[in-house]
């Protein structure tokens, strides 16, 4: 069931277009991430959903009802701010109780709800503390509990993990997933971190220059990106140039080899194409097997823990990165010429930009 529908939304500041032609519907209970580089419009969209920014054009519907111009205080959306924006003068419990007091709940009901929220985020014993007495991760939990306390229809989150260190970020990702699962609340999450988006979302809307470039489940966007931007923004990728073979319209020539690839009918022989292949899909060594084979020279080999990153130069002079699982004997030296293989299914072909 569609809970939130965004129709042809646009926002222009003076002469700058922050957002244009945004169409997105969010299902009840979904975890949707708005992902994009800074200045891509994702935060503007979130602020429009919250009611802090008035769109220049378009409609936002909740359950079919137009809420585009509704005040933020009338929307019943929870909002988790970047930097949390907790009330510094109120204790943890009173931060969480704020929305309930505003709604004039009875005291016993407020107390019960606050206790429930505290245990939901695992802060039962910190109810009396002031925000400044908490660590970043704890403040984060308070911000989430505060935004969830009144039972919002939708929880909007604006880069909530960006202030945390890497370890804590991963823990909090799991926490957020758990909270999403346990509360059943619809999450709309803004981030510029593609790993975070992939790890948490049901669907990702990728933003660039004020537009949604692609929308889909993380797996689909990662494996079958339809655009150069998404292929490059989600995960690591190698982009190589190729062209359609002159003598065989099903074949592509690239990095010193040729292979058959799914081509669009509008591409003609000789057309320049962009070929992408993920580093984890390049296999090295004389291992038997099918796939597309080619030779490349090792430029650099760096050990980064679980994997080794090997920078290769193809016979056409292009560079590509291969990641291999670290094994004792996988010692490739710079200058060494290696046999490489790629599964044809793992290769993507895009019209060149």
């Amino acid at each position: 069931m569609t809970l939130l529908a965004i129709e042809d939304l646009a926002k222009t500041y003076d002469k700058v277009t922050a957002l244009t032609g945004i169409n997105l519907s969010v299902e009840a209970g979904e975890f949707v991430t708005l992902l994009g580089p800074s200045g891509s419009g994702k935060t503007t969209l979130l602020m429009s959903l919250a009611g802090f920014t008035t769109p220049s054009k378009g409609t936002i519907r909740l359950d079919g009802k137009d809420i585009t111009h509704l005040d933020p205080e009338d929307r019943d959306f929870g909002f988790v701010f970047q930097g949390y924006a907790l009330f510094p003068h109120l204790s943890v419990a009173n931060n969480i109780a704020f929305s309930l007091k505003v709604r004039k709940w009875e005291k016993a009901r407020i107390d019960a709800r606050v206790a429930e929220m505290l245990s939901l985020v695992g802060l039962d014993n910190l109810a009396g503390r002031k925000p400044r007495e908490l660590s970043g991760g704890q403040q984060q939990r308070v911000a989430i509990a505060r935004a969830l306390a009144f039972g919002p229809r939708i929880l909007l989150l604006d880069e909530p993990l960006s202030a945390l260190d890497r370890m804590l970020r991963e823990t909090m990702q799991k926490e957020l997933k758990r909270l999403h699962r346990e509360t059943g609340v619809t999450f709309v999450y803004v981030t510029h971190d593609q790993e975070e988006a992939i790890a948490m979302s049901d669907r990702i809307a990728v933003f660039n220059h004020g537009r949604i470039v692609e929308i889909g489940p993380p797996r689909d966007l990662y494996k079958k990106p339809a655009t150069h931007f998404v292929a490059g923004f989600l995960g690591e990728n190698n982009f190589l140039s190729g062209h359609r073979a002159d003598d065989d319209e099903t074949m592509v020539e690239a990095f010193g080899t040729r292979f058959s690839a799914p081509l669009q009918p509008r591409e003609r022989p000789g057309d320049v194409l962009t070929i992408w292949v993920r580093p984890e899909h390049i296999r090295l060594g004389p291992a038997p097997g099918d796939g597309i084979g080619f030779r490349a020279t090792v430029v650099e080999n760096s050990f980064v823990g679980a994997v080794e990153r090997i920078l290769l130069r193809t016979s056409t002079g292009e560079q590509m990165v291969a990641t291999l699982r670290s094994e004792a004997h996988s010692e490739y030296k710079p200058g060494q010429v290696v046999e490489c293989r790629i599964d044809p299914a793992a290769i993507g072909v895009l019209p060149s930009e």
């Binding site: 009611g51 909002f79 701010f81 970047q82 924006a85 510094p88 929305s99």
Partner: protein, 280 residues
């Protein structure tokens, strides 16, 4: 670095010398006079408490100072609150207008108020002409006139202090309150006001302490009828040559102000005003 520090310290020397010679030394002299004139002992201080005239002056001073403080802080808070909500352009103009009084001598300002407030002044004239009142109001040469002049003098200071405090408050906290369902009035009482307490406390302390020792404005707008401590002391020195009374009263004023500042600085609200920016 160490060398630089030594040089830096050296650079403060001329200013320190001036301050010691022209400020610290006279104060110490006043203190000395208060216990030696006319004969050594604390008799001057005992006399202070027995003196009915001093009692009246102290009461007037407290009345004027408290009224001035309350009116100044409330009015300045409203102005500062409005300024932080203005667009950048309007805010620049407003802050400029707040600063203008600093360039006008306190004497000129006091005389201007007399022109406006006296019985045949601008205000009474206008009110009588339009028939709002039939006989002129006593707006100056009394408590009211002194208070008006002092509030006018203090407001720019208080506005700037409060403006600095209010603009430090993270505006996302207000957005958070709205997202939680709070309406503007609730946000003001439950969020803006509690978060402004450090600034309000600082402005209150500043205005009150400043008011206690104020000389020029009360002297001109009170015209000797509304007598405050500073003017009383000045009269004792320049007209009646009562050095014993003047020095002991000065010392008492200094002591009281010192105690007020010391006590106030121990309050959590004021301590918060001096702590570095709000934590994340």
């Amino acid at each position: 670095m160490r060398n630089f520090k030594r040089t830096a310290l050296l650079l403060t020397l001329p200013a320190s010398l001036v301050a010691i010679c022209l400020y610290a030394a006279p104060i110490l002299q006043v203190l000395a006079l208060s216990v030696t004139e006319p004969k050594p002992g604390l008799a001057n201080y005992q006399n202070l408490f027995a003196n009915a005239a001093v009692g009246r002056v102290v009461v007037t001073t407290l009345k004027v100072s408290i009224m001035t403080t309350v009116l100044t802080v409330v009015a300045s808070y409203i102005v500062a609150f409005a300024i932080i909500h203005m667009s950048a352009g309007l805010r620049r103009v407003s802050l400029f207008l707040v600063l203008v009084p600093f360039w006008i001598s306190v004497l000129v300002r006091a005389f201007s108020w007399i022109t406006i407030l006296r019985r045949r002044g601008v205000l009474n004239g206008a009110l009588m002409e339009t028939g709002v009142i039939s006989s002129p109001l006593d707006l100056v040469y009394n408590l009211l006139g002194v208070t008006i002049g002092m509030v006018h003098y203090m407001m720019p200071f208080a506005i700037l202090l409060l403006y600095a405090n209010l603009s430090d408050i993270d505006r996302r906290i207000m957005q958070a309150a709205r997202s939680l369902g709070a309406r503007p009035a609730t946000i003001f009482w439950r969020v803006w006001l509690p978060l402004s307490l450090p600034g309000l406390a600082l402005a209150t302390l500043f205005v009150f302490v400043f008011s206690l020792g104020f000389l020029v404005t009360p002297a001109l707008l009170g015209a000797g009828k509304t007598l405050m401590i500073a003017e009383y002391i000045s009269v004792q020195i320049s007209s009646t040559s009562r050095w014993d009374l003047a020095t002991s009263l000065s010392t008492m004023l200094l002591l009281v102000v010192g105690i007020i500042v010391f006590a106030a600085m121990r309050s959590p609200a004021l301590r918060a005003a001096f702590v570095a920016r709000p934590q994340q």
